[in-house]
Symmetry: C2
Subunit: 336 residues, 2 copies
DNA sequence: CTGAAAGCGCTTACAG
DNA sequence: CTGAAAGCGCTTACAG
């Protein structure tokens, strides 16, 4: 029984008589053998490549830069293990660009993939191929249930909506009407926003049922046509506070400053630089955040644990729902 | 110029002619050489041992279990690198026990230490010895400034007090008196509590100056003698909310439930199990947390980066100041 | 199907 | 002060 034979059974590479196999397995068990990963990766010298398929950030400050920062951080730490990254991005407005880039990923055939399944039809087609090729993949931000993913990392939008409900409740005097604003083009591909709204309404149903809530969808954020309309609504209905369901809360912030509506309480999502500005000036009271960098970092780490270390990984990982204010924002390194 | 010579200059082990040294250094620079840590630890086979010197947890659920969980987590990940842990704990009530255990640490002479400098006089004596022996050490929870530490990980108590101020402000109607309670034996060794109080008062001075605030120190938490006194104070002064400056907010929770004072808003610190219970029942409105597990994890990691990987590490690491409510507590894994 | 050899990038004695 | 050899725990051809 030589070292070569043992290696063959360890890695199920066949070419071993069943009898020898059993003997090896038995001894491995008895001595509680655990392979030394350092020695293994040192000797094997094989490069493993991971790919990401994520939305292009809408600006240099845009949200989707953040998960990618986490991805790069973990990749750089894994350099020693011969891990490299081939990133791909698609255009958030064009499902076809998703498919196009997905083709490129398939051609490359990496050892693992981190993706945001933004367009469900296109993403479904893609992961079917991945399953066939047995390439492990992780969903980030949103997920397709039971699609054979190695894992999902993202937030519970319904619950974060509930939290938004509670916060705005404490910020505004009892009995005064409040508002939910979606700054979004197509609500269908933005299931998170609908979930947050549902959570928000649910909280009030259970805790402050007499509260009047008005929802508004603003799809064209290029022009400022919506401002007049919103302004009238606010003064007519005596709105006391606004919840913006995504990172575009800075639009509401600009609106408030422009019109001097500083009595309005305002909460929203995500630590974009402009949002932080409004937070520090007291225009935004709370930002709800989800540690996007950490999501990217953990996604790559899951792949690493599975592909290199052969460890089991958790399938679902809801990220924490963080509350950020002027007082704690400077200590919220989303990243250590 | 042989591989042995190169190794000698790489590790400053002397016995190299200055001329050869310079030649090697030059080439290393030109080729941008970076050592392969995997190969290095595989070949060297030397065991490195880290020690912790932390307070004994006061109960199986006590606060000080948490940093230790993070310590163990990182240690287990570093097993492959031959890192082991020798933990030591001291009694929070007895400075002498700190000194006693510190002696043992010195005798063991580990490759790195994570410690809570609970008693400043005793801790100072200890770190003087560590400096002499050139053993790197990290402070956790609180720090001694400029003591030669490799780093500090903890929270900014003043700022977390400010945050507490803001939260209680929104929870209670304007103009109604509020209260700060310290459940602590000796305030001097508990500098964090004094800092939190200072931050709290500062917030009101700047944002709600007419607010009336009453501070109370309760040192004997074994008996319940304080309850009658507190009860009278609350009804006489018409107190609307309470801020407990540490993890013992559960004592205030019990008090509220026992006396049916459910109109009182209550905030405090740390995710002890009993505190979570009160949070979920709506007795505690907010808990402010500091990711103690992460503190332990990061402290060991700093040691690893410095001792094994020879990387530079940041000297100060304030941890984030997290706001936990009934709505987000289930997603606050202080640990991934 | 099995075994023996070379090599991954380093460290550690040891001979000169 | 310098160099050559053996070995860390694995993987990877390759000969039989």
């Amino acid at each position: 029984m030589s070292i070569g034979t043992v290696d063959r059974v360890l890695h199920n590479r066949g070419e071993v008589a069943e009898e020898t196999r059993q003997k090896v397995l038995k001894i491995i068990n008895e001595m509680d053998y655990h392979p030394n990963i350092l020695a293994s990766t040192l000797a094997s010298k094989k490069a493993v490549v991971f790919s990401t398929l994520l939305p292009q950030p809408l600006s240099p400050e845009g949200y989707w830069n953040k998960p990618f920062i986490g991805v790069e951080k973990r990749i750089s730490e894994l350099q020693q293990y011969g891990v490299t990254l081939k990133p791909f991005t698609f255009n958030q407005a064009h499902p076809s660009s998703f498919t196009e880039q997905a083709e490129k990923v398939l051609e490359l055939s990496p050892d693992g993939i981190v993706m945001a399944p933004f367009f469900s039809k296109e993403a479904n087609r893609f992961v079917t191929k991945l399953r066939e090729k047995k390439i492990p993949f992780i969903f980030i931000d949103s997920e397709i249930k039971n699609a054979g993913q190695l894992g999902y990392i993202g937030q519970d939008s319904f619950q974060s909506g509930q939290l938004a409900g509670k916060l705005l409740h404490f910020l505004t005097p009892l009995g005064q009407p409040i508002m939910v604003i979606h700054f979004a083009r197509e609500m269908d591909n933005q299931n998170h926003l609908a979930q947050r709204e549902r959570g928000f309404y649910t909280w009030y149903k259970n805790n402050d049922p007499s509260r009047q809530i008005i929802t508004m969808e603003i799809s064209d954020t290029e022009s400022t046509d919506w401002e007049q309309n919103l302004k009238e609504k606010i003064s007519r209905q005596q709105i006391a506070g606004i919840f913006v369901t995504n990172s575009k809360v800075y639009l509401a912030g600009r609106f408030i400053e422009k019109n001097g509506l500083h009595h309005l309480r305002l909460i929203g999502h995500d630590l974009l630089n402009e949002n932080i500005g409004f937070l520090k000036r007291g225009v935004v009271d709370f930002l709800i955040c989800q540690r996007p960098e950490e999501q990217g970092y953990n996604a790559i780490n899951k792949l690493f644990q599975h592909v290199l270390m052969k460890n089991e990984v958790q399938n679902e990982n809801y990220t924490s729902i963080d509350i950020i204010t002027k007082e704690n924002v400077d200590y919220y390194k989303e990243f250590k």
